[in-house]
């Protein structure tokens, strides 16, 4: 029960914690109540505002928008995984003339914001005569960015494996490609599964950036239906509905991915890398160092049970 911050609570501490708990609840309810009051005061709970959502056609259009989001996500996810493998293998090469360009490419792709990449594809390329639909601008930008992040993840996974695995592979006569394909990468992927899942959720969230280049996904539709004066301009209800759908989709994705990971895990040994709750969006250099040295420093899931 004791943790870094506090000791096992004695009677005074228990009483103080109870009071603090009540205070926290009161503050939270006050903030929530304020928002609910503002919602009611501006008439967001009237039937008129929500009338848009009684039309089947509107729900069909919401469904189509959700499908646009998901289709962009699935293609981007598969592409990012493929690109990640490719870049990781290049990055792990023993020849410097292969390794250096791949490292440069990965660093540059990670440094450019996804939105700037989408702008480049959708607004920049037509200037030299290449036409690009919004869908492909979104998908290619997502593949480029997430592929480079996943490349680093795969690299960290491979470098976290004990050296003996690779040596055993060479000892039985496998060559570099065989060792990589049959021994190192499968274990690396299993070890890094939580990080990969987190990055896929990031990919799904970043499809929303397509709104800014007028890709017709959920946010675009929310803005459209929210400014229809004939339906009462339901911008706040539209935002609430679309937010619920996005959160639901992301949670569903995490659930599906975690279930798949559990089914695929044949051996209980998952490697010695960071736990399921990654604090940051990308693998940090510290975590890479940790992973390479086989230490379990960054393990937010453990420690104190808080």
């Amino acid at each position: 029960m004791s943790s870094v911050l506090y000791d096992v609570p004695g009677p005074k501490a228990i009483a103080r914690n109870r009071i603090l708990g009540v205070v926290t609840v009161v503050v939270a309810l006050a903030i929530l109540g304020f928002f609910v009051w503002r919602l009611a005061a501006t008439g967001q709970f009237t039937a008129e505002k929500w009338s848009a959502f009684t039309y089947t056609n509107v729900w069909i259009q919401i469904g189509e928008a959700a499908l646009s989001t998901l289709s962009a996500f699935i293609v981007a996810a598969i592409g990012a995984l493929a690109l990640g493998f490719l870049l990781a293998i290049g990055r792990l090469s023993e020849h410097a003339w292969v390794r250096r360009p791949f490292t440069a490419v990965i660093e540059v792709l990670r440094a450019v914001p996804v939105l700037v990449f989408m702008f480049l594809l959708y607004y920049g390329l037509p200037a030299i005569g290449v036409r690009m639909e919004t869908y492909w601008a979104v998908v290619i930008a997502l593949i480029a960015y997430n592929g480079s992040v996943l490349a680093e993840v795969f690299r960290a996974g491979v470098e976290s494996l004990p050296l003996g695995q690779k040596e055993a592979g060479y000892a039985i006569g496998l060559r570099k490609s065989g060792v990589m394909r049959l021994i190192l990468l499968p274990q690396a992927v299993r070890a890094m599964m939580p990080v990969i899942i987190a990055q896929l959720v990031v990919t799904l969230k970043d499809t929303a950036l397509g709104y800014i280049i007028t890709y017709e996904e959920l946010l675009f539709y929310a803005r459209y239906i929210g400014s229809q004066a004939a339906l009462g301009s339901p911008i706040v209800p539209a935002t609430i509905v679309v937010a619920a759908i996005y959160i639901g989709l992301c949670l569903l994705l995490s659930l599906v991915a975690t279930t798949v990971e559990k089914r695929l895990r044949r051996s209980p040994r998952g490697g010695v890398v960071a736990g399921a709750n990654q604090p940051t969006q990308e693998v940090t250099d510290t975590e890479l160092i940790v992973a390479q040295r086989g230490l379990g420093k960054f393990n937010p899931g453990a420690g104190g049970g808080v």
């Binding site: 009338s51 848009a52 959502f53 009684t54 039309y55 089947t56 056609n57 509107v58 729900w59 607004y123 037509p126 036409r131 639909e133 007028t214 803005r223 459209y224 239906i225 400014s227 229809q228 004066a229 004939a230 339906l231 301009s233 911008i235």
Partner: protein, 301 residues
Amino acid sequence: MRMTRTIAGLGLAAVAALALTACNSGSPTSPGSGDADGGETTEALWEVASDVSLEGSPTYDRMVEQDGVVVGVKNDQPGLGYEDAVTGERTGFDVDIARWIAASLGFDEDQITFQTIPSANREQAIVNGDIDYYVGTYSITDSRKQQIDFAGPYFITGQGLLVAADDDSINGPDDLAGKVVCSVTGSTPLQRIRDEYSPGDTVENDTYSQCVEQLKQGQVDAITTDEAILAGYVALEPDALKIAGEPFSEERYGVGLPKGDTALKDHINALFTDGGDVWTALFEEHLAPAGISGEQPAVDE
């Protein structure tokens, strides 16, 4: 077990909710109720041409090859280019001009695909070939002529200001000091307001309907764009909005075409010049009720 039961419960709830929505499969009253029977009135105005042959027009060849026309329009300008959010029905002066042009090229209603393109992406869409032509409050300007061609003009209006009905402090573009003005990204009115007048602050949105919402809620003080567009919104809500002052520029609407397609441009110009009756009928139906007056302009050569 509990998980499957909760998921089943949620699924049933979702299906039940969806069933309830079937109560409302029509649409709320569409604006400009004259357009409700748009099909009947406009069909009588023209006939779909047959045996059309337009030589030397790559755009027309593409239309024939795809057996259809893709037209870029707006979807949130009542009276000009409007799409009902629920039924998807397209109405408005610009939309009917587009239908008229398509009919003259031998394509009937079923062969027209309307695509909504916001102001900032119009040149892109034409240059890329995503659409065949664009009819949607598209002002003819020299900088745009560097990328595309225009047929027309088919309408002349001017830039104006839309304010709340009870706001008397703004009577013209010189009263904008300290006021927040809203318009659409990439439109000429916004550039002109910034360059020639000095408003307090400017807000950019992607669509005018967003600006109208912000005006009604007091987030912005005025909207600036062409009077024809503003009049459509006033017609929808005459108690809440009004036009302030007189137009302070001239905007000439044209049909956006791919650059260099003179054959198509001449065809459309001839259609406009010879079709005065059709033009007047469309004007009477869509724009006159909003209180605008105007007459058909002569096309550029």
